[in-house]
């Protein structure tokens, strides 16, 4: 009983909806070659004011992907809400290749019917009304779901225009640290754009290493609430919380397997930090590496058949891959003073990592086919890279304004944005899988 109360004192679980974004994306480097599109203001036919400016959310999403350059409203030659009213020549002369139009009605209070069309400008110019509408959809959504529905529209538009799935309807998990707070360490989640922030768990002792389950329902993380490291799993919807490990010494770096059945982790119970895999249901533990140097930061190959990890076995830390069936281990990185914190993109073709060059820690991508290394960021301490599920962007932690904060970089390094926190510091971001 006392133990239960103590736990309540040390930790406070809550799910707090927040209308404002604690993090806000600020674009710092754009892409000149991005494709010109336009998201026209959606016509609101309900009573009062529209609850959300859907067009603005979609437009901002597309801009942040680094692939599109949506026209500002002030530059729009017209703002029709139906594709049949579009003056295609006027848009073509501005270089716009595609338009999104929409109408919002209010069939009953608190419910909105959203209709949108994605229109191809060149087909429109040719007057072919059978082909210029690339997509058209209608949905009824609740007021509380309007932002999410806007991200859904962005996903559809992005996929139609690029052939890749969009990752706008996703979340990020991160650790916020504010020493002035009664609970300085907080694990939070928000939409990918910083809106809808919610507290998952807060503690007076450090929280580390959030990792999403592949269904996006649960987080694994490390907590020091008992003055030692332990791995926990928490359902973000029910708040149900389970202690997964409490071995002597290090319990760290949990990473969910792609099938959701196993957890890769680092334990040092057998002498030094090594990589282990635990069956989450049976708790059966299998040791994967056993080397007298440091092995850490396991991350799954999308196939689930191998793990990559950081190891000091060659001197300074470098990234290796171990085949889980044969235990065959291969070094993957050779450039840079050291390479750490690696993860594979979801197609398995690229390795994203922290690469140290001249004492500076930067986010880098290595093409695993050619071996080419691309350094994507340029500050002194960029770390904890986490890749969006469609492989388009990387979120990572960096230092600016004298504080640890999050930032985004596109996979080609050409588009950059910051997500400054309003208070305290933010670190250890983890991008969720697809939520739809």
């Amino acid at each position: 009983m006392k133990n239960k109360l103590l736990m309540l004192i040390g930790l406070w679980f809550a799910v707090i909806a927040n209308a404002h974004a604690k993090l806000e994306i600020v674009v710092t480097e754009g892409v000149d070659t991005a494709r010109v599109v336009a998201v026209l203001p959606f016509k609101f036919e309900g009573e009062g004011v529209a609850p959300q400016d859907l067009a603005e959310i979609v437009s901002t999403d597309l801009m942040r992907s680094g692939k599109f350059n949506p026209l500002a409203r002030s530059k729009m030659p017209q703002t029709p809400s139906l594709s049949s009213d579009i003056d295609f020549n006027a848009w073509a002369s501005l270089g716009a290749e595609a338009l999104v139009t929409g109408v919002v009605t209010m069939p009953e209070p608190g419910k909105y019917q959203v209709t949108f069309e994605l229109v191809d400008v060149i087909s429109g110019q040719q007057g072919n009304s059978a082909t210029y509408v690339l997509d058209k959809r209608r949905s009824v959504v609740k007021e509380s779901q309007m932002r999410q529905y806007a991200h859904r529209i962005s996903d559809i538009v992005y996929e139609k225009l690029t052939g890749e799935k969009g990752a706008f309807l996703t979340r990020i998990a991160y650790i916020a640290v504010d020493q002035t707070d009664k609970y300085p360490y907080q694990l939070r989640i928000s939409d990918y754009d910083g809106f809808g922030e919610k507290l998952v768990v807060r503690s007076q002792e450090p929280l580390m290493s959030p990792s999403w389950s592949p269904d996006g329902r649960k987080l694994a993380y490390v907590s020091f609430e008992n003055n030692r490291s332990q791995i926990y799993i928490q359902d973000i919807y029910t708040q149900e919380r389970t202690q997964l490990t409490s071995f002597p010494s290090i319990n760290g770096a949990p990473k969910w397997s792609p099938d959701g059945q196993q957890m890769a982790m680092v334990l040092s119970k057998d002498g030094q930090p090594d990589i282990y895999v635990m069956n989450i249901r049976t708790r059966d533990l299998r040791r994967v590496t056993s080397h007298r140097s440091i092995d850490t930061e396991p991350s799954w190959d999308p196939s689930g058949k191998s793990l990559i990890f950081s190891s000091e076995r060659g001197g300074k830390p470098q990234i290796y891959r171990v085949d889980l069936a044969t235990n065959e281990t291969k070094r993957l990185t050779w450039e840079g003073e050291m390479n750490l914190g690696g993860s594979l993109t979801f197609d398995g073709k690229n390795l994203v990592m922290v690469s140290r060059n001249k004492g500076q820690y930067q986010i880098a991508r290595q093409d695993l086919e050619t071996g080419d290394l691309f350094v994507l960021t340029a500050s002194s301490l960029d770390e904890s890279p986490s890749v969006a599920p469609n492989g388009s962007m990387i979120i990572y932690s960096t230092i600016y304004g004298g504080k640890k904060n999050l930032a985004l970089v596109s996979m080609d390094g050409r588009f950059k944005a910051k997500l400054p926190a309003r208070s305290g510091e933010v670190r250890a971001p983890a991008w969720s899988p697809y939520l739809n």
Binding site: G10, A14, I250, V266, L381, E383, I399, G402
Partner: protein, 180 residues
């Protein structure tokens, strides 16, 4: 009623907190229970659930006695390290020798915390922090302290002593701390 509880909680919280600020967070678990006995209870999320970070008040004469017996160095509990290193610099031997002697004679248990600066990834730093803590453990064992009295916890870069992002802060944060 509610307010009364909060005030009670505050009354015991404040002095303990000032104490905690100049000492280490020793025996946190036990101290939380003593706070419970003193009537600070969880009522709701906002003002209760106050978690103090206290140690039992240290008797100055006890410290003086310790210093007299084991040397001034026994009052130091922090070992600093060079960047990316876990070797114990010679100047800390006198500190660790004093602690070793005290541990052998008192048969007390000690936890060695390992910490790093924030350069390098958080997971790597957890491993490096443990390596620093184990360096201290090995040294104390070599001075005759039984392994059963020694335990470690690595906080990596998660609990810096200095929160700024400067070289001076980094030097301060690369440390192992002995917590009785």
């Amino acid at each position: 009623m509610q307010l009364n509880k909060i005030l009670k909680g505050l009354a015991i919280t404040l002095p303990l907190m000032t104490l905690a600020a100049c000492s280490s967070n020793d025996k946190k678990f036990e101290d939380q229970s003593s706070e419970m006995n003193n009537g600070a209870e969880v009522t709701d999320g906002s003002d209760s659930g106050v978690d103090t970070d206290a140690i039992s008040p240290m008797d100055m004469s006890f410290e003086e006695k310790l210093a007299a017996k084991y040397g001034q160095a026994i009052l130091e509990n922090t070992i600093s390290f060079a960047y990316d290193q876990s070797e114990i610099a010679p100047e800390y031997r006198v500190v660790l020798n004093a602690h070793a002697q005290y541990l052998v004679e008192s048969q007390k248990s000690v936890t060695i915390e390992g910490h790093t600066d924030e350069r390098g990834t958080p997971e790597y730093n957890i491993a490096l922090g443990e390596r620093r803590a184990l360096s201290v453990v090995r040294y104390l064992q070599s001075m005759g302290v039984p392994a059963t009295q020694l335990s470690t916890v690595s906080y990596g870069e998660e609990k810096p002593a200095n929160f700024s992002h400067s070289d001076a802060a980094y030097a301060e944060n690369r440390r192992a701390v002995l917590i009785y």
